[in-house]
Symmetry: C2
Subunit: 215 residues, 2 copies
DNA sequence: CTTTACAAATGACCGACGGTCATTAATTTA
DNA sequence: TAAATTAATGACCGTCGGTCATTTGTAAAG
């Protein structure tokens, strides 16, 4: 995924977008291979075939890379949800399946506020927040029409589901390297809360509660 | 909160616990005054009246400090909840009030998995996980008896509520320094999700869904 | 009271990392 | 062909988490 062999410079806007997407791919690979903590800017630059200084031409902070990945993932996630917002079980299934489909999505979401947003430039933060707001709005309006709800109600429901998802996402954080050496009872504390199961039970209750409320 | 003026050494177990509690107090102050990111080990040592090396006699990593604060906070939090697990609105009120009471609790919870647990020594992680598991169990059994539920059901309900709390906690992350300079529409994205409101709506739906299920 | 043994305390030091900037050089424009 | 522009570079910097050889307060032994 390196670009280095191509010594050409990025002059046009399109070429710059290409560079950026190479960086994003390299980041995806590094995260998948060895986790977030292993992503360093020098490492990422090398992997993308760039010098560190060049990387900083395309991104103002390390976390901006993660923010871009998250926004991209969120957009695809909402795409996948839209056809199913009308029916409880289908929606839950879509939410949990799609999260498993894009393995980076929950880990990114888990880090969204405390790590990613906390380290964005003003401009990157604005872009990110706008994108998130837009996706939430997309879901909310679809939910309102599909379920014939008031927009306030739909707003609450969407947000409740995403609060649950973000909570469950925390459980998607990779286990420590020494997990196997942990005492049995500690391993069970991990086992007691798998991200997927946690989300599904919470989401079921939420949707049932919402159905109950409008009935 | 410094201990420095007292040049005595900590010999007994009790004196060591004292040292540790001085460190925790110093950390609380620093977080309250200027946020998590401002806590450095040298700064914390100075504030506690210790040399950096001494601080590392009491704690293996920086995040162990946060873990200790969290466990302490969680214990008090569950204490406050126990009397109210029987009734929906009382429980919600207790959860949201108590979270506001201890201003550090949600911010710590928001960082629990991605930052804190990710940087604990094996021993500290074991202690932390055990403590969390114990508090969860305490709540679950109380919930089961008080609501005459099966323990599986109670387990699910407790976990759903805490998933929501952890999701809402993400919204408690401090706003950026340049928040005021953000465009109006971006500020509104922040406004659309206050931690307290987000938790309360999600929790209401969850509890309503649970009531519906057992009816 | 003095000496010895122990372990608490210290802070200089180290490596890693995020981020910067003066300089180089590819490409376009005049 | 020369001048102007701007992408690219990587040496460099400051900060920070964490370590460890040394110092020194304290208790036990003689």
């Amino acid at each position: 995924m390196s670009l280095r062999e191509n010594k050409k410079r990025a002059r046009t806007a399109e070429e710059k977008t290409d560079r950026r997407s190479v960086v994003l791919s390299a980041a995806r690979e590094m995260i998948a291979e060895s986790g977030f903590e292993s992503v360093t800017m020098s490492g990422l630059a090398k992997r993308a075939g760039l010098a560190k200084g060049t990387l900083y031409l395309y991104v103002k902070t390390k976390e901006e890379v993660f923010a871009l990945l998250f926004v991209e993932g969120l957009s695809g996630y909402v795409d996948a949800l839209l056809p199913h917002v009308g029916e409880d079980e289908a929606l839950i299934r879509a939410m949990s399946m799609e999260a498993r489909e894009n393995a980076l999505f929950l880990p990114l979401m888990a880090r969204l506020t405390t790590i990613i947003e906390a380290n964005l430039s003003r401009e990157a933060l604005i872009r990110t927040k706008r994108a998130v707001g837009a996706q939430a709005a997309r879901l909310t309006t679809e939910m309102a029409t599909e379920r014939a709800m008031g927009s306030g109600e739909a707003f609450d429901l969407v947000h409740a589901l995403f609060v649950a998802l973000q909570g469950a996402a925390q459980l998607s954080v990779a286990r420590p390297a020494f997990f196997d050496e942990l005492p049995e009872d500690v391993k069970q504390v991990y086992g007691a809360s798998e991200p997927d199961a946690a989300f599904v039970t919470a989401a079921r209750l939420i949707l049932k509660g919402a159905a109950d409320a409008s009935a």
